[in-house]
């Protein structure tokens, strides 16, 4: 069983203008004192088409982590717009929070992110070149997709045991109407470093 359980992730400052930093308040619980730091990352999926547009917005070390319940706010700058394909600027994409211990990823939390113009005029007739100043980012905070991986907590061995896949909400595909199911299916998978694990996002 994982030594670290993520209890809650609260998305702060949401919705917000596209250029605002991401803020996640993460509450987690640790079963026993961890000798090493946890490494948290926020990955912004620039384009559903290819992982080459994935941006790691930031990574932080969190520690020391004694046994108990802890919380922190993970703030990361907004994605570099220059790295986002223009065609993918508006619409639904994914932001991922991952956590690794000793280089092994044990949890991946995915959020759908909807970027759209607040101005109805622009919404109707979006400019060809996206105007990021006018874009609003809306993270679908109520529907995190959590994937947990079974890792070796006691050593830094790179051996991965069988993965645990918690896809908690079988009904969510119907509930989230804004998800363009065709383009995101399977997308989240190659983002990660661990090809051995599956994350059936949808």
């Amino acid at each position: 069983m994982a030594k670290v359980q993520v209890l809650n992730v609260a998305v702060l400052d949401n919705p917000s203008p596209f250029g605002n930093p991401f803020q996640f308040e993460i509450t987690f619980e640790c079963m026993e004192d961890l000798p090493e730091d946890l490494e948290w990352k926020i990955i912004y999926v620039g384009s559903a088409e290819s992982e080459e547009y994935d941006q790691t917005l930031d990574s932080v070390l969190v520690g020391p982590v004694p046994a108990g319940r802890h919380m922190f706010v993970f703030q990361a700058d907004a994605p570099n717009t220059g790295l986002i394909p223009e065609s993918d600027a508006v619409g639904v994409t994914v932001a991922l929070i991952t956590c690794t211990y000793n280089g092994q990823e044990f949890i991946r939390i995915g959020y759908y992110v909807n970027n759209e113009y607040t101005d109805p005029e622009l919404r109707e007739n979006p400019p060809i070149k996206p105007d990021y100043t006018q874009l609003q980012r809306n993270i679908l905070a109520s529907n995190p997709r959590v994937t947990r991986f079974h890792i070796n907590w006691d050593g830094c061995s790179d051996k991965m045991e069988d993965s645990e896949n918690v896809d908690p909400s079988p009904n969510s595909s119907s509930s989230s109407s804004m998800v363009p199911s065709s383009c995101l299916a399977g997308k989240a998978l190659p983002v990660g470093l661990l090809s051995g694990n599956s994350m059936d996002c949808l």
């Binding site: 069983m1 994982a2 359980q5 993520v6 209890l7 809650n8 992730v9 609260a10 702060l12 803020q23 308040e25 509450t27 987690f28 619980e29 079963m31 730091d37 930031d58 990574s59 932080v60 070390l61 969190v62 520690g63 020391p64 982590v65 004694p66 046994a67 108990g68 319940r69 802890h70 919380m71 922190f72 706010v73 993970f74 703030q75 939390i109 995190p144 997709r145 959590v146 079974h150 069988d162 645990e164 896949n165 918690v166 896809d167 908690p168 909400s169 079988p170 009904n171 969510s172």
Partner: protein, 923 residues
């Protein structure tokens, strides 16, 4: 009989493999397949029992769900106390859960179910050992052990008081082990496996008692589980899937000779689970019917792959009831309520059924007394003595007692409330009274963010709650290692083989008793360090000591193997001693460094160092040695005409023994207190404690002097008495603060010299089976600090494991166990008295009293009280001493009375002495 299928008890349609009702009957657990993991759910029992509760939306149905198992959960079992829940699953793990009181409702993050967990159950231990799916888990009677069996063909017995310690791994099955059951009296555990066998194992030595194969030879195919069960009277063991004449049966195995003559027949497919009702019943007496004395009988539920359930009474030839088509798939598990009238059944089809019987149908359940009486009849005094239940019917006879009992209850409740409040407090006001909400608002600003050396951001998370996993702290005695800092008396070793374990006891002193604690208790330890540096860091010296010493003192022993003791002794001495000297001489500069490390971490006393430098200066051909002592920054030194062999000190005196057999004694400030004492033989071990100096010479004689009174406490007493006839050597010696010398021998026995009786008294024997079998764990109150520092604890050391073997309760008959514990405790008391160790006396007296109270030893308790109270009226002829070891006996009695009051059986004793004490107090 009523039958209910609560549709809300489900794992979203996934199979439910196991069900277990909490001992208090208010909730039950189910285990099975979750979405993509194993799932354990704890449900509220009330909506199952009462329709109005089921309809009441304010009454939660699900209390908690745990998705922590990585794969399907095959078994969930509550401990007998109900404090813990154990679950085993396909992920090869056994998890032990405990309710966490301080955390409010929460959901599983990311889970689809937005239902909050009403109760928080947290995994406190993960037991990893199995290499395959865990199929069944079972708590032993009294929750001493937890057993788990697996498809890896093994059964693992875990120490439930000290997880994750493994007591035993039972190997012998050649197929997947799919069911476990403990003998209700704890003597055996039985397992059933796919290898067509049922094995019974002894808990005494964890060896196989019997292997039953005949009824299983015909068994074909596999059943998912083979949950067998032992009858509550212990007389019958009923297997799951067995075959008789190609019909599936549940085989009845008699405890007496493991005979297999009977079985439960009738199921059309394999029996998956058998579960005995925890109650023993007797026939319901109807008015008017002839009062025929009927035999008590048991009740057993059998579930099968044929989806039907049968309930049997051992007094009937046919089943009481058979229910077909209760489920769509095989029955997987059955659990009875503790009152024996309800039963929960779960099935592979993911549903659960509840059956409720009336007493008319099953009979009158025997109460605990009657059940115990049966156990006692069969097995002697039962282990399942539940004093509380027995006494619930006792009438409180006097107001004092009533008051006391009520106070006790109130105190318990208050205690309970306090812990709750404290926990609630912990949750709401986390840091400096700030609420969680306040913290959250400012978390980003407040959290500490640093940069690591390579420039990365590092956030220190804010701890908002501690984990409350306290209950699994290991048993008292195991958890108190005798640290170098806690030894109460300085000791020195004469034997070279003792520098592993016993050397821990070495050099340090600690306040013993209230008097000593205020003093600067310092003690010094002679160390023979071969080093070129004149001064050493204390810790370094400590470290190196263990290695150095073993080189330096090979075979410095006192041995009296047969011959004329003295002569041989000296010879042996010489053999040993010169080698040490040789070693020293080889070193260009040899120093002896003595150091004193602060006794107790909390004490404010500065350490005292003794340092000896031999051959420091040559004055006209004579070599002098220097003794230097530093205490609280003040130093003094003195010169000695001969080489120093050993030195020791206490807060009051410093003693130095030289090569020329002279013993010099100095005051704490370096004043010579006595002219040099000429010893009959070279010094072997020297100790100081308070104003006492103890000398053990190479010719095996012992002397203790009281420097303050200038008198001999022990005069040249030969060790021949304790050494003769044995091949052993002196492995340890120490002097208590009260001037009682203690000699530990290599055979594990320790003696102290009683100067008033002038006898050697045995105070510890590591081979003593009484020590190992005495079971007084229940009598140790959590409030008592374990005494690990007294001389008694020191000499007995780790060996005193509070009944290491005793937890194998069943291996010895109860009365024997009881006797052994009694003898052991009395030994402890007497030893503490002889050693004049008041803290230890007090400690053991309380344990002894608790033991007498729980075991109901009336006479002994009365005698104890009588002695403590003494004569009420002063009479000249009375030899009664009002104090013992500086403790007032009547104060002790006052302390014991609440203990006595705990057992209502002793209420008269309680009242009697309470009154007398009050009377005396008024005078």
């Amino acid at each position: 009989m009523k039958l209910l299928k609560p549709s809300w008890v489900s794992h979203n349609g996934k199979p439910i493999f196991s069900v277990d009702i909490h001992p208090d009957g208010t909730k039950f657990a189910t285990g099975g397949q979750g979405e993509d993991s194993g799932k354990v759910v704890i449900w509220n029992m009330a909506p199952v029992l009462r329709e109005e509760d089921e309809k009441n939306v304010n009454i939660p149905k699900m209390l908690c769900q745990m998705d922590n198992h990585l794969a399907c959960v095959n078994c969930v079992r509550w401990s007998n106390t109900g404090l813990y829940l154990a679950s085993g699953g396909d992920d090869k793990l056994v998890m032990v859960w405990k309710r966490a009181a301080f955390i409010g409702p929460s959901t599983v993050f990311g889970s689809s179910s937005k239902l909050a967990n009403v109760e928080q159950w947290r995994c406190v231990t993960i037991l990893r050992n199995h290499t395959g799916d865990v199929m069944d888990v079972a708590w032993s009677p009294h929750d001493v052990w937890l057993a788990s069996c697996s498809v890896d063909n093994t059964i693992v017995i875990w120490n439930a008081r000290k997880f994750p310690e493994i007591v035993a791994s039972l190997k012998g099955h050649t197929g997947l082990v799919k069911g476990l059951t403990w003998d209700p009296v704890g003597k055996y555990i039985a397992s059933q496996a796919d290898d067509h066998s049922l094995k019974v194992w002894r808990t005494m030595d964890w060896q196989q008692e019997t292997n039953i194969t005949k009824p299983f030879n015909e068994c074909g195919g596999t059943t998912h589980v083979l949950r067998l069960s032992w009858s509550p009277d212990g007389q019958y063991l009923v297997s799951a899937h067995a075959m008789n004449n190609s019909g599936p049966t549940a085989q009845i195995i008699e405890r007496d000779g493991w005979k297999t003559n009977m079985d439960f027949v009738g199921h059309r497919k394999a029996v998956t689970v058998v579960k005995f009702n925890p109650k023993i019943f007797k026939k319901k007496q109807r008015n008017g019917s002839s009062p025929k004395p009927s035999c008590p009988y048991c009740c057993c539920a059998v579930g099968s792959k044929d989806r039907s359930l049968s309930v049997w009474l051992t007094s009937l030839k046919r089943p009481l009831v058979v229910i077909h088509d209760l489920f769509d798939k095989s029955i997987m598990d059955i659990s009875w309520t503790l009152n024996g009238l309800g039963i929960l059944v779960c099935s592979m089809d993911g549903t659960v059924a509840y059956l409720n019987f009336s007493q008319d149908e099953l009979g009158d359940p025997l109460n605990e007394d009657e059940k115990n009486a049966i156990h006692q009849n069969i097995y002697g005094k039962s282990l399942a003595i539940t004093t509380e239940a027995q006494l619930s019917t006792t009438i409180i006879e006097n107001p004092e007692m009533l008051k006391y009992q009520q106070e006790r209850q109130r105190a318990e409740q208050a205690n309970h409330r306090m812990t709750h409040e404290a926990q609630a407090h912990k949750l709401t006001s986390v840091v400096n009274g700030e609420s969680l909400e306040d913290i959250r608002k400012n978390l980003l600003k407040k959290q500490v963010e640093t940069r690591t050396a390579d420039g990365r951001r590092r956030i220190t998370p804010l701890c908002i709650a501690q984990l409350d996993t306290g209950d699994f702290s290991p048993a008292l005695f195991n958890s108190v290692p005798i640290l170098p800092g806690s030894a109460s008396q300085l000791t020195s070793q004469l034997s070279s083989d003792s520098n592993t374990a016993t050397s821990n006891l070495d050099p340090l002193s600690t306040p013993l008793g209230s008097k000593a604690s205020s003093l600067n208790t310092t003690a010094m330890k002679s160390n023979l360090l071969l080093t070129t540096s004149t001064k050493m860091e204390p810790m370094k010296a400590l470290d190196s000591r263990f290695t150095e010493r073993s080189k330096v003192m090979p075979g410095v022993t006192i041995s009296m193997a047969g011959l004329t003791p003295k002569a041989l002794d000296v010879e042996k001495r010489k053999k040993g001693r010169p080698r040490k000297m040789d070693a020293k001489m080889m070193m260009p500069v040899s120093h002896q460094t003595f150091q004193q490390v602060r006794p107790v971490p909390v004490s404010t006393e500065p350490p005292v160092y003794l340092e000896v430098e031999n051959d420091v200066s040559a004055v006209s051909g004579a070599k002098l040695s220097q003794l230097r002592c530093s205490r609280e920054g003040r130093e003094w030194d003195t010169l000695l005409p001969s080489r120093v062999i050993t030195a020791a000190g206490s807060s009051d005196v410093v003693a130095v023994a030289c090569e020329d057999r002279m013993l010099s004694v100095f005051s704490a400030c370096g004043r010579r207190l006595l002219p040099a004492i000429l010893l009959p033989a070279p010094m072997s071990a020297l100790h100081c404690a308070g104003f006492y100096v103890m000398a053990l010479t190479a010719c095996a004689t012992l002397s203790v002097w009281d420097v303050q009174k200038q008198s001999a406490v022990v005069k040249n007493e030969s060790l021949q008495t304790i050494l003769s006839g044995t091949e052993c050597t002196v492995s340890q010696s120490l002097l208590t603060q009260q001037g009682v010398p203690v000699i530990g021998l290599s055979n594990g026995k320790s003696y102290c010299f009683n100067s008033s009786l002038e006898t050697w008294n045995l105070i510890a024997d590591k081979q003593d089976s009484l020590v190992q079998c005495a079971d007084f764990k229940n009598c140790i109150s959590s409030q008592d600090a374990p005494v690990s520092q007294g001389p008694l604890a020191l000499t007995q050391g780790h060996n005193l494991n509070a009944g290491r073997l005793a937890s194998r309760l069943s291996s010895t008959p109860h009365h024997l166990q009881h006797g052994m514990t009694l003898v052991f405790l009395e030994n402890q008391l007497a030893s503490a008295l002889t050693l004049r160790s008041s803290t230890e006396y007090h400690y053991w007296l309380l344990i002894y009293a608790r033991f007498l109270v729980t075991e109901g030893s009336d006479y002994r308790l009365r005698e104890l009280c009588k002695d403590l109270l003494g004569p009420v009226h002063k009479s000249a002829g009375s030899a009664w001493e009002p104090t013992t070891l500086g403790l007032r006996k009547r104060d002790l009695l006052r302390e014991l009375l609440p203990v006595i009051g705990q057992n209502l059986r002793f209420q008269r004793l309680f009242t009697e002495y309470q009154d007398q004490l009050e009377l005396l107090g008024n005078k």
